[in-house]
């Protein structure tokens, strides 16, 4: 312990001019119970600072002491076992019971004899189909403002839906009734809420998805993958079935790198005109750069205890073992925003995550099935703010002719006001049935002005052209803070679904 402390002192003095993520956000790795592989699939908060975790092995563990500054204070108690993959766990403060989303059912767990182990397992809702295909994961939320649970159901494999509601988001009301809520889901990785209580889920790269995405679950919307749309008959509340998007790429072997003179029909921005229920992803979590397997969605409601990113979202990734940060805004009624790398170096693939009121982010997961950079087969970890504020892009706002970028610290007016400190690239993905896809339709716009605000906390960039539907990749390599520091992360990817009128 002492040696590590000295080492970190050394490294911080040697590289004081070159800060690293760990200077601002530290990761603590907990020991986990020896009798199991704690492949965390979901995490929620319980009273008295306790946590509850559901695992891929179907166990539910109650964790005490994880908030303590001394990681050895952590202790675990097995509350339930033998469930079929707990990829959603929710504590209900109203009835004080736990609700587990498992492969084929939402289960209410009670401890009737108060011995610390669940002894009553009640089916709350099981009104969705399970064909036996491994891919049919069910990812559940915690309780929303209305007391509902949300479930996102993976398709049967990547393309189709063999049984009801595969490829849908459902809401389960407190009385156990089910409300089909959104269609168009492919392979969900996590579900969560923003500071206003709006629901989002992460989808994964594959058919109809050139990249992983963060998607806004607006009731009634179609989220993009038509594989599950055969079940509209079972969901009269959803209105008529959307027209199908064009499976363009299957019409030929045309290279996706060449653009068609008349424009490409397989673009989200084009198909939105034709398919009225289609809601574009709020943010593309750019494939290979931000992550490969987006999972948990964690909102910072700690009021500053996790640093300067209050109310922003943190998106976990299983294969990259990292967290990225998302700032969202609403333009013309649609969510869009920027994703920026935040913290890498978690020990395994992150699947579940939750922040407590004290601004501690608890994450856990496993690398099973897809591999993860972290290298460990599973982990349970905590990420905390060290109290030092990194020099980072804080928010990025779309403007009619460019972007306004705000910073966590005042900028150096000379570098931040120089257009040569920035570069931008715009691209999109084909919206097509084929698996994944390249970054296509690249545009290299001109940055014509960079105007620093009087308080030095923001810069107004004028960009020509802005392209509706494209991801705007902004590099800020030359920008320095007033203290002459480079940005900790020098890139952001803004998904421009809509260009604001003013």
């Amino acid at each position: 312990m002492k040696r590590i402390f000295i080492l970190s002192l050394l490294s911080s003095s040697l590289f004081a001019a070159d800060p690293v993520e760990a200077d601002f956000y530290k990761i603590t790795t907990f020991d986990t119970p020896k009798e199991t592989a704690l492949e965390v699939g979901s995490i929620d908060l319980m009273p008295d600072g306790k946590l509850v975790m559901g695992t891929r092995r179907g166990e539910i563990w109650i964790v005490s002491g994880a908030g303590s500054n001394d990681a050895s204070n952590v202790s675990y108690k097995l509350f339930a076992s033998g469930l079929h993959e707990v990829l959603g766990i929710a504590y209900n403060p109203k009835d004080k019971n736990l609700y587990a989303t498992t492969r084929y059912e939402i289960t209410r767990l009670k401890d009737a004899d108060h011995d610390g182990r669940a002894d009553v397992f009640e089916n709350v809702n099981d009104n969705w189909g399970v064909s036996g295909d491994y891919h049919e994961y069910a990812i559940g939320s915690r309780f929303d403002k209305a007391g509902d649970l949300w479930v996102t159901l993976c398709l049967t494999g990547s393309f189709s839906s063999a049984v009801p509601f595969r490829g849908w988001a459902l809401r389960i009301k407190p009385d156990g009734t089910m409300v089909p809520t959104c269609s168009g889901i492919r392979s969900p990785g996590g579900i969560g809420f923003d500071a206003d209580g709006e629901a989002y889920y992460c989808d994964n790269q594959g058919p109809w998805h050139g990249s992983c995405t963060l998607q806004h679950l607006v009731p009634g919307s179609f989220q993009g993958h038509p594989g599950g749309n055969i079940w509209y008959d079972l969901a009269p509340n959803m209105g008529p079935r959307p027209v199908d998007p064009l499976p363009e790429a299957f019409q030929g072997e045309r290279s996706r790198k060449e653009d068609r003179p008349g424009g490409d029909p397989d673009r989200m921005v084009t198909e939105r005109e034709r398919i009225k229920q289609l809601l574009p992803p709020a943010v593309y979590l750019v494939h290979g750069k931000i992550g490969n397997s987006a999972s948990a969605i964690i909102c910072d409601l700690s009021g500053g205890k996790f640093g300067p990113f209050s109310k922003q979202l943190f998106i976990a990734d299983q294969s990259h073992s990292n967290l990225s940060r998302v700032y969202l805004e609403t333009v013309n009624g649609i969510k869009q925003g920027v994703v920026i790398p935040f913290r890498s170096g978690f020990a395994s693939g992150i699947i579940g995550g939750r922040m407590d009121e004290e601004g501690r982010v608890f994450v856990g997961g496993s690398d099973r099935g897809w591999g993860a950079r972290g290298g460990k087969p599973f982990c349970f970890e905590k990420c905390e703010w060290t109290g030092k504020t990194p020099f980072e892009v804080h928010e990025m706002h779309a403007k009619p002719d460019g972007f306004e970028v705000t910073f966590t610290q005042p900028v150096d007016a000379a570098t931040a006001g120089d257009v040569k400190s920035y570069s931008m690239r715009e691209f999109t993905y084909a919206y097509r049935e084929q698996y994944g896809g390249d970054e296509v339709s690249e545009i290299l716009p001109k940055i014509t002005a960079a105007t620093v605000a009087a308080d030095g906390k923001s810069v107004r960039l004028t960009i020509s052209p802005l392209t509706k539907g494209h991801i705007h990749e902004l590099h800020l390599d030359g920008v320095r803070s007033a203290e002459k520091l480079s940005l900790l992360h020098k890139v952001g990817y803004y998904t421009l679904n809509e260009i604001p009128a003013k």
């Binding site: 592989a37 891929r56 092995r57 179907g58 076992s81 033998g82 469930l83 079929h84 993959e85 498992t102 492969r103 084929y104 059912e105 289960t107 209410r108 009737a112 669940a118 002894d119 009553v120 397992f121 009640e122 089916n123 099981d126 189909g129 399970v130 064909s131 036996g132 295909d133 491994y134 891919h135 494999g157 990547s158 063999a162 049984v163 594959g206 494939h287 290979g288 750069k289 490969n292 397997s293 294969s319 990259h320 099973r368 099935g369 897809w370 591999g371 993860a372 950079r373 290298g375 084929q434 698996y435 994944g436 390249d438 970054e439």
Partner: protein, 519 residues
Amino acid sequence: MTRLLFALLLAAATARAVEPAVFSLKTMTAQMKYDTAEMLVQPGQAVKITFENGDDLPHNLVFCQPGTDTAAMAMKQMEKPEEALKRNWLPDDKRIWAHSKMLNPHEKEVLNFSAPEKPGNYPYVCTFPGHALTMRGVLKVAPVGGTLHDLHFALYLGNWQQLPDFSKLKPHREGKIEDNLIQVKLDDYKNEFGVVFTGKLLAPKKGSYRFYLSSDDGSRLLIDGKEVLLYDGIHPAGDIKEQGVTLEKGEHEFRLEYFQGGGQIELYAAWKGADTQITPLSKWLHPKWKGGTKKQKEFEPIPLVVKDEAVIYRNFIQGAGNRGIGVGFPGGVNIAWSAESMNLALIWRGAFMDASRHWNSRGGGQEKPLGYDVLQPTGEVTPAFFVTDRPEAEWPKWDKTKRYEGFHWLGYSLDAKRSPTFRYTWQGAEVEESFAVEGNGNKPDGEAKLIRTVKVGRNVPANAWYRLGSGVFESKDGSFVSKGPLPYRITAEGAQMAGSNLVIPAKTGTMTITYQWAQ
């Protein structure tokens, strides 16, 4: 005509001429693995690989020079992801000497190349981000070793459970094997015989050699009269046994003893030297070593051990549908209950479940019970309750795409020993059922019993029947004994046969049903 025929092939010393090495390599669905961990070729040999992506993620197949840290090579692409994306995740690395395209799910590509002239272990890997740690294998380039010569056989007749002392027996027939490959081919004597093969093997130099042996049934391999490998007893050719020995340069006496009890006849032997690849000495090639490839290992077992409390395991249990609930009771009796048909699906004895299929990789697939004597008293995933005025009628069959109408799953509670009581409603009537075990299912004394108690609430429809079993049952001492291949006994008050259905009129009240493996 009671005689044993051995196949005679013309090819003798040239039995294994250098033909192109043909492989089919597939990515395993949802496992992040290739199905082939090793491929063996000779230096400079023409190689044809049909590479098929059976997974639903993109994968490629990239061959590298010996000693390449393939995981580090794949990971290095992340330093410049834009460039890597443009290259479709094929690393720009001089150590790569052959590769496929990045195949989309369910695409196929045929690769043709010449194997390197230099012997060695050439790793292959998928370079898509995150895959390299588990998606890998080795192309082994090595010359083949020598084969046997002066190979003779001696046939013995007898009924053994283990290898006999052949030196004390008189051979029924003897002969020479012209192609010098160990083989058992016959048009008679399918059971109850033994063969001793003797021949010579030339070690090209002094050094360590390795021998391989597998058989159905027992076998033993001796070099210069010393036992190297023993795989005795009655068994399938499941494993390949192997053992290293040090041999002097020169000729060595080779002896292989084999016996066949009944059923399958298989015999595999091979050897390798320090510089040569595994070279079969037998005509038959073991499936784990077919065409010079080693298939991916199955998972290490994770048995769920039942101690003094019942253990619940909800997962895909073969025979219990997609909403199966396994229960391992103390006392070596286990069940799988279906929350799809609201019925007992399976009963078995011995060990409970192996979770390794579901707790490895992506967790796909149906897993069989780990124990034995698996009973499935009624059809697969069919409900017990049914309204009919003809109890001999066919009960509803499972349609995987639909749910049974009229049933609503409520859940279960556990008692102090974690034994569950399942609850559901049928046509509005509440039903609950619980289980008790008597005797010990791990013992073959026939005393182990499963006692099932079904409590049926009010509002049972008219003409409702409860089916306990389907098939042929014989009424005996107040019980019904199944006449299937695995006899068992069902005892319940009021039970009666109706056609091939063993039924009870369903009404409000309690049913006690006892299941017992018959002696």
